[in-house]
């Protein structure tokens, strides 16, 4: 059970005045649940993940992950692949493990399952953007995470590549039983992936709508059911979802 309660999260602004990024944000997720967090650019989505992932401690609030050793059980996938260019594909995945024989076997299996079995010894610089994300995905799952944090990991990829990665993500997630917190500004992507969608307001961000999806898997962003729900949500909450529908919006708010 993931339980997030952030009272206040501020940044020192460029002018010196504090910028309130998150306020009164409460979010929970059941074990094994796939939760998408959707919100407009600059609403504090990345900030939320950084706080939950322990990258940012300067916050009023708390994050609890029941039943997990929070020091080792969180996987993180960033907007960019963020692989170490001087490590081979296999070593990049092994970097975050204890490199035990079991971890090695898991790394090889994961990479093979993602179609990277032939490039284990290649350096990331030789790989396409889509392949680099697959390595990053394998790195996130190799530690058998209780919680997986994903910060718009499939932006700036072409549609077929992104769809393929989403399919792989869902496969691995179903196999691993991890809780996933997936941040995106793309409502269609959220509808294709999530069990539940939490909508954030503009800054200071808080959850303004919490919607459980009853869509069958597997699904794709262009399925009729997804399209219908997309239209329905837009009709129900036009003011809330303004600015979340343009797929071309790839602003990176880091």
């Amino acid at each position: 059970m993931l339980d997030i309660a952030i009272d206040r999260k501020t940044y020192p602004d460029r002018a010196g005045a504090p910028h309130l990024a998150l306020a009164g944000l409460r979010l929970t997720a059941a074990p094994g649940e796939f939760v998408c967090v959707v919100g407009p650019s600059g609403c504090g989505k990345s900030t939320l993940l950084n706080v939950v992932g322990g990258l940012d401690h300067d916050v009023e609030g708390r994050v609890r992950l029941a039943g997990a050793d929070t020091t080792h059980d969180i996987g993180f996938m960033f907007q960019e692949p963020r692989l170490m260019p001087w490590l081979t594909v296999l070593d990049n995945v092994l970097l975050v493990t204890d490199a035990s024989p079991a971890a090695r076997r898991r790394a090889r299996e994961l990479l093979a399952a993602m179609g990277l079995g032939d490039v284990l010894d290649a350096y990331p610089g030789r790989l396409s953007g889509g392949m680099q994300r697959r390595v990053a995905l394998a790195r996130a799952f190799v530690i058998e995470p209780k919680l997986l944090l994903m910060d718009e990991p499939f932006v700036s990829l072409d549609v077929p590549t992104a769809n393929r990665l989403r399919t792989m993500l869902v496969e691995q997630w179903q196999r691993s039983g991890a809780t996933v917190l997936f941040v995106t500004h793309d409502l269609r992507e959220a509808l294709a992936l999530a069990d539940r969608i939490c909508f954030l307001s503009a800054a200071p961000g808080r959850v303004v709508l919490d919607r459980t999806l009853a869509l069958a898997r597997p699904r794709a962003p262009d399925d009729a059911a997804v399209q219908a729900l997309h239209a329905e949500l837009l009709a129900q909450h036009p003011e809330l979802l303004a600015g979340l529908t343009s797929d071309a919006d790839v602003t990176q708010d880091e």
Binding site: G54, L55, T71, I74, F78, E80, M84, Y123, G125
Partner: protein, 273 residues
């Protein structure tokens, strides 16, 4: 005007394919070129020696004979080994201390502000002053000699490595933090690889600076080593001896650079190719 420009273009255009062709010839063609340039140097030297016919410019053959004689008497290998040992110790010391300070200064702004003035001072003190002061303060011994050499090199290492530490990619460090990597693994697998180009630049520049300073240090206050020998030959006006030691020493440094540093750098930056 336009016709003039076209003429210039026509004049230059043949050079482009020629240069491309040379590049394509690869390492083997390049090696031949290097050998040819070495031979040309020896030929020029020989010609100059004939032309001036002076005892202050002995021909190559005399110098090579001298190298053989000094090697047979073990004088050259002994002094060379002593000098190389000093170079190695001073080099490693300067690199280790300079890298540590550079990383710290690149990491902590306050420390940077605190030490930056000292750094500027260190960069601008002439090598000779450091050497004299070290001998005066620590005595005419090897410790003083090595400290003096290292002190001369440390500031430049600090400046280069600090540049590298400032350019460290915070996004990759975040990966290490997000996955809770142990500190040591973060340092060796995520942090240090980013500094490799800066460390290698320091190492190469350092070697060429240090082996020059070591000779001065030996000349001023040691009773052995290549620098000491050069000083003696100078007083005896023994030019063949000076050239013999210089040639061998320069050759050794070249070999260290080509057989040690360059392959090491290639290995460490394999991922770039």
């Amino acid at each position: 005007m336009k016709a003039g420009l076209d003429d210039v273009a026509a004049w230059h255009s043949p050079a482009v394919p020629v240069r491309r062709a040379m590049k394509r010839r690869g390492p083997r063609g390049e090696g031949l070129l290097r050998a040819a340039s070495l031979l040309a140097f020896l030929a020029l030297w020989q010609l100059a020696a004939w032309f001036f016919a002076s005892p202050t410019l002995p021909p190559p053959a005399t110098v090579f004979a001298r190298i053989a004689a000094e090697t047979a008497s073990l004088a050259l290998p002994t002094h060379l080994a002593i000098t190389l040992a000093r170079v190695a110790v001073a080099f490693l010391l300067a690199l280790a201390i300079g890298a540590a300070i550079g990383i710290a200064m690149g990491r902590w702004r306050r420390l940077d502000a605190l030490l930056d003035g000292w750094l500027v001072l260190g960069l601008n003190i002439p090598a000779l002053v450091t050497i004299i002061l070290c001998y005066v303060w620590f005595g005419l011994n090897d410790t003083a000699a090595i400290v003096a050499v290292a002190l001369n090199k440390i500031p430049t290492v600090v400046v280069t490595v600090r540049e590298g530490a400032r350019a460290v990619d915070a996004r990759l460090m975040q990966v290490a933090h997000a996955y809770r990597l142990p500190r040591l693994r973060t340092f060796t697998h995520v942090y240090l690889p980013q500094l490799v180009p800066y460390l290698m630049a320091s190492a190469r520049a350092g070697l060429s600076l240090i082996w020059k300073i070591v000779l001065v240090v030996e000349l001023l206050g040691r009773s052995n080593g290549v620098g000491f020998q050069l000083n003696m030959f100078f007083q005896l006006f023994d030019i063949a001896g000076i050239l013999a030691y210089t040639l061998v020493f320069a050759a050794v440094v070249l070999v260290v650079e080509a057989a040690g540093l360059r392959p090491l750098e290639r290995r460490l930056t394999r991922w770039r190719t």
